[in-house]
Amino acid sequence: MKGENLGEFEEVVLLTIAALLNEAYSVAICDHIEEMTNRKVKLGVVHAVLNRMEKKGYIQSELGAPTKERGGKRKRFFNISHAGKVALMNSKEQRDRLWNVIPESIFNGI
């Protein structure tokens, strides 16, 4: 099937969601990515990716309880689904396999 592989940014977002457990919402995801990778990410980009991946079935979402912050607007929390986990594992395995057959000497001295 076409498009089975995860995009690079999609993978990053999925990993972030997995890491943040139950605290994964858009703003937190943005902050986490910026912290961990030093990449500046825009909310809009993340938002779009989250929407797309939810449609593909890699993540699920639900609205949280209303709180005092954010003017009372609820947050949407994301969780990685089974399919998402499988996708992440596949991706990692692919990379590992490719890495394992590279002769050690190539990266000596970097």
Partner: protein
């Protein structure tokens, strides 16, 4: 904590999908708070606003409630996908349909563009819906004659006596005048108009006072281009120009050039008072019968004032017609009904016959119908293949309506694709159309304006819907069970005969067009080569253009190529006629007849045969008191003069009963009109004068040339002309060219019919191609088996071609009598002199179509007959 401005929130809530709104808003809010702390409230608000705008994306935006509820979006998407795939899968059939539709739609596009432009005429006047033109109708013994013009008297009466008429404009035809300014003499076209023209019509005024220009004596308003010709860069306003007669006129207004799409076209307006002053001595100027060169326009107070106006016109006509033999009726035509409009005599400016519009629409529709039939034919033929698809659809719950819809969508898509193919064809055919209808005034452009493009899209969509409806209807009615169970037994009931009928229709149509083109062509050739009864070879007619004709004669006789020189008032046999009234002094019988004023050399130059009496001689050249006429045999017949010799010496009153004239000679009858006119009484009158009077007797100089090098001769002639007249250009036309020009319209019509014939044939051929391909495909199995059993190629050809041959025979049987009847009874009945429609044209045309059809069938069946039977039967 600060809040972002309410209105930004409202904007977000407005466009955003409800399920996403809350958390999105919350996220933006969170950032807002951070930015307030880091960058200050102003920056934070700005960022918030930008984000609100940036989130306007496909997935956040709400879909309108209506669409969501009805779910048409899903059906549309599915239909598009299916149509797209089906088109790609059947490339041959789709290609045939697209090409056929493109060809036929281009005809429709041309007609649409033409009509849309025609209806633009005269619309730039803001009061256009309240303006009417008054027309005269004279009923003489044969038929009522409708005139675009009317009398000055009518204008005056409407102005003074009618109610509901806000303003009345009277105009008068002018002509071309030579205006002198300083050393320069420049010709320009002009007409006369009353001051109300400035108020009723919207001609743009650049400088000066238009109304004043039309009120004062000897004053005019001139258009920009003409002004530039006269004055260059200098301001035209208030300058004085002098006419050839020495009268001075003051320019009191400068107008923008009159827009092309106006039936009133000229380069200058003179005040009507100027014309009235000129015509002071003419008692007939304000008469009820002086209706030849004046036009009256009425601005009605209310927008539907036509009835009121008409009632008053009828009353006026009744009063004026009392005690008069010839009755004139008055009618009012709305300004917007002039172009396109009914054909009338004395129309000034561009015009377009309304009935022609209908004919064009009819022709384009027939062609389109042909292409639609093609589409139907091929689609239905293909339906066997599609029936499985339809069956499955119906099983999973599609209703007949859904299936119908899907097929219509497919048709519309194909038609829209064809539209793109039609547009280049449109550009190709444009010049042909423009040449036919617009070579004189050059006002039509037939360009693609946005409005026209929209019209095209609507047209294409409608065509697609119509084209798709029949096959769609058939498909939606098919029963599921019979489709899915046994494909080969699907009977499309009456479809086989319907398809055959469609093929017959297309071929009949093609035959009709081709036969028409052949007939038209031979008629045209006949008319060009028609023996007029006098000699027009090597005769060059030169416009005198207000010069002294004796000076011209002197100058041109010097040239060795000029064998003979004569002069005449007009050129007969090219479509115009000048009428006079003569009265027999013996019997008091009077007659209105066609005539010409000629120089003594004329009859000799043109080879007219004098059968009694004598030709004009030198003594008649300046003989103002010695008027003579030479008449033809028909003239004698009308006045019951028994023999030509008896006619010599008889006296008649000519020149509207003011001058006595004697018959001095009789000539053979000749054709003084086109082939539409019967030969009737004719009269030649001797011309007098120098040619410099206000109404000279001669407008044309006839030169009999003898030369082998036409081009060298023409340049010699031009030189001779420029020695006499340094202002005007040399205007000369060969007599044979003038005759051709008289039939120009016919020639263009024939070309258009020819083009239509090609179109119809292409579509029919395409349709036939599709049909044959399909039939041979479905019969491949049969063909293979027959081949195995020993059939030769010839046998197979005969078998497969037989049914098509019969169809084309039927088409010929329908087309030939129909075309003959239509031409004989309707189209050619106006022409008194014409050749008979010969068998050659009738049968030749059908043969051509036969041949084309035969070739297609032959090639296809040949290919089919040559297939290796083993390949075909292996599949089973």
């Amino acid at each position: 904590m600060r809040q972002p401005p309410r209105w930004m929130d409202k904007l977000l809530a407005f466009y955003c999908e409800e399920s996403l709104l809350e958390d999105l808003q919350g996220d933006l809010y969170e950032y807002f708070e951070r930015n307030c702390n880091n960058k200050g409230p102003l920056m934070a608000q700005l960022i918030y606003l930008i984000d609100v705008l940036k989130f306007f994306r496909t997935y956040t935006v709400k879909t309108p409630k209506l669409l969501r509820k009805m779910n048409y979006l899903a059906i549309f998407k599915n239909s598009f996908k299916t149509s797209y795939r089906s088109i790609l899968r059947n490339r041959l059939f789709s290609g045939i349909n697209i090409i056929g539709l493109a060809i036929s739609m281009s005809a429709g596009l041309l007609v649409i563009a033409l009509i849309m432009e025609l209806y633009q005429f005269d619309r730039f006047h803001s009061k256009a819906d309240r303006i009417y033109r008054i027309n005269n109708t004279i009923t003489s013994d044969d038929e009522p004659n409708l005139f675009a013009s009317t009398s000055v008297l009518v204008g005056d009466k409407v102005r003074s006596e009618f109610s509901g008429a806000e303003k009345v404009v009277t105009t008068s035809q002018g002509g071309e005048m030579d205006a002198q300014y300083g050393e320069k003499v420049v010709p320009f076209e002009y007409m006369f108009a009353t001051p109300e023209m400035a108020e009723v019509f919207d001609f743009e005024v650049l400088e000066g006072d238009f109304q004043k220009a039309l009120t004062d004596l000897n004053s005019l308003a001139i258009t920009k281009t003409a002004a530039e010709r006269l004055f260059g860069k200098e301001r035209a306003l208030n300058k004085v120009i002098t006419s050839g007669d020495g009268v001075q006129y003051t320019i009191q207004a400068v107008l923008a050039d009159i827009p092309k799409k106006s039936h009133i076209i000229t380069e200058a307006f003179f005040s009507f008072k100027t014309k009235e002053e000129e015509q002071k001595g003419n008692r007939g100027f304000h008469s009820w019968f002086n209706m030849w060169s004046n036009y009256v326009y009425v601005l009605s107070e209310e927008s539907s004032g036509a009835d009121r106006l008409q009632a008053q016109l009828d009353a006026l006509a009744e009063r004026e017609n009392e005690n008069r033999e010839e009755k004139i009726a008055l009618s009012a035509l709305p300004l917007t009904g002039i172009v396109p409009g009914p054909a009338m005599s004395n129309m000034a400016g561009p015009s377009f016959d309304l009935s022609l519009v209908w004919i064009l629409i009819a022709l384009a529709s027939i062609i389109l119908l042909s292409a639609c039939f093609n589409y139907t034919n091929l689609s239905v033929a293909r339906s066997l293949r599609r029936s499985k698809e339809v069956g499955v659809r119906k099983t999973v719950g599609a209703t007949g309506g859904h299936v119908f819809f899907q097929f219509v969508v497919e048709a519309v898509i194909i038609t829209l694709i064809a539209l793109f193919g039609a547009i280049p064809l449109f550009y190709l055919a444009r010049p042909l159309l423009l040449e036919t209808f617009d070579d004189y005034y050059n006002v039509m452009e037939l360009q693609l304006t946005p409005m026209i493009v929209v019209a095209f899209f609507v047209y294409a969509t409608l065509t697609g819907i119509v084209a798709g409806m029949f096959p769609a209807w058939i498909m939606s009615r098919m029963k599921v069970k019979s489709i899915l169970s046994d494909l080969s037994s699907v009977k499309l009931f009456s479809n086989v005969s319907v398809r055959k009928a469609l093929v017959v229709f297309q071929f009949s149509l093609s035959m009709v067009f081709i036969i028409s083109a052949f007939i038209g062509f031979s008629q045209y050739q006949y008319m060009l080569n028609f023996d007029l009864g006098f000699n027009t070879d090597n005769v060059l007619n030169v416009s005198i253009q207000s010069n002294d004709y004796r000076v011209l004669e002197n100058e041109f006789r010097k040239l060795p190529e000029v064998e003979d020189v004569s002069f005449s008032l007009m050129i007969p046999s090219v479509g115009s006629r000048y009428l006079e009234e003569v009265k027999d002094m013996l019997t008091n019988d009077s007659l209105q007849l066609v005539y010409n004023k000629v120089h003594p050399n004329y009859l000799r130059l043109h080879g007219h045969n004098i059968i009694a009496g004598a030709d004009f001689d030198e003594s008649y050249i300046n003989a103002k008191d010695k008027k003579a006429i030479i008449v033809n045999k028909q003239f004698l017949q009308h006045f019951n003069i028994s023999s030509p010799d008896e006619a010599i010496g008889r006296e008649f009153l000519v020149d509207y009963r003011r001058v006595k004239a004697r018959i001095i000679g009789v000539i053979d009858d000749f054709h003084f009109g086109t082939t539409e006119e019967k030969v009737g009484p004719y009269m030649f009158v001797n011309g007098v004068g120098t040619g410099l009077e206000e109404w000279p007797d001669y407008y044309e100089m006839n030169l009999k040339l003898k030369t082998n090098d036409v081009r060298a001769t023409m340049s010699d002639l031009e030189e001779a002309w420029s020695r006499v007249d340094k202002v005007h250009q040399f205007k000369a036309v060969f007599y044979s060219e003038s005759i051709e020009q008289a039939y120009d319209f016919l020639r263009s019509i024939i070309r258009i019919i020819g083009a239509l014939a090609v179109t119809a044939i292409s579509i029919a051929a395409l349709g036939l191609l599709g049909m044959v391909v399909f039939t041979t495909e479905t019969r491949l199995k049969e063909i293979s088996i027959r081949k195995i059993l020993g059939a030769s190629e010839g046998n197979l050809l005969f078998l497969l071609g037989r049914s098509f041959f019969i169809l084309m025979l039927v088409a010929a049987v329908l087309a030939i009598p129909l075309t003959y009847y239509v031409f004989d009874q309707y189209i050619l009945s106006d022409y008194i002199y014409r050749p008979d429609i010969s068998w050659l044209e009738l049968v030749g045309g059908s043969m051509l179509i036969f041949a084309i059809g035969a070739i297609i069938v032959y090639i296809q069946t040949l290919m089919a007959a040559r297939t290796n039977p083993a390949n075909m039967l292996r599949k089973d």
